[in-house]
Symmetry: C3
Subunit: 133 residues, 3 copies
């Protein structure tokens, strides 16, 4: 199993950052033609998702939807004031399993992989593992 | 690793389509007694989930809940008009990891695997990979 | 692939139960220094998530957020009265893929693994599989 991590810097409080290219570069660097890639986000106020990457408006609408669903004020107990970001992390999820085929991520026409920042801006890490076929 | 894909046709705008039987057939055809199965949905307005399959009312209630949580109109930016379907895809998730035991999916008594259509009707694809023990 | 299951008992209707220690014990017992761990929840009114484990208020706030988002009464069709728990299960998810490094779970500073009870109290099961590197 190949293993590693990369970091990225977010620039807003909430933001979807595309990371498909970083992962495709890892796949090519390690000469993986086919297999599975596991991504893991070690942060509790961030997530990982797959969605449309062609139109950046989709990412903005996802943030708009999450802000609508998860109220900023709900008499939360956690004193840091970022409970909505923790809730969004659980809703979106913190790990992904991706298929690799033909030496790149197997994705639908419109799909891209996104790191989801819910409590930025911060420097963040993503862990990855790859199993070759 | 065994790899493949199958397609399915949805008949409504929002619909949960059971796919457990399709996957159990794959497992038996490939003589897998034990292992892991990875499912991947390549569409950005659909998802994959596991929930109760005995009473079809549960699937209808999941759709009812998602329609309540994700408003149809929220001043969305994406011009195609299907932003709620994109948001639901991120909430529900686009991949699953399933355990295989005794030559079939290891599922709880009431569990079934569902393809979730959020912007149908359409013809859809599901990619699968299986690692044998 | 190593395979097994453990059970746990929940004591409230909704509750997040930390299970990181149980999994780290499995990893050590089986002398796994590096690899991947798959967790699977076979119940349709429960889930698995990763979030902050240092301050128990975060878990309480996640429950508060879910109760706000998923209404208790929405003219649900399922007659058992636990449709909100089924919806939460689909939102949170029923499986996790965890990375193992240095003979323990690779987690962020604040992360812990939680079994999420949405329709308790009950006795519940978690299935696990581990692939060694």
């Amino acid at each position: 199993m190949l293993t590693g991590a990369f970091s990225l810097t977010t620039t807003s409080q909430m933001e979807l950052v595309g990371i498909s290219e970083k992962i495709n570069t890892l796949i090519q660097k390690n000469s993986v033609s086919s297999g599975v890639c596991y991504l893991f986000n070690p942060h509790t106020t961030a997530g990982l998702t797959i969605n449309e990457g062609a139109d950046p408006d989709v990412g903005d609408d996802i943030i708009k939807g999450l802000l609508y669903m998860v109220p900023s004020d709900l008499n939360y107990n956690h004193l840091e004031g970022n409970s909505p970001a923790h809730i969004m992390s659980t809703l979106v999820g913190t790990s992904l399993v991706l298929h690799i085929a033909n030496s790149k991520l197997l994705l639908g026409t419109w799909q891209k992989i996104f790191f989801c920042e819910f409590d930025g801006p911060r420097t963040r890490t993503v862990h990855w593992k790859i199993i070759k076929d």
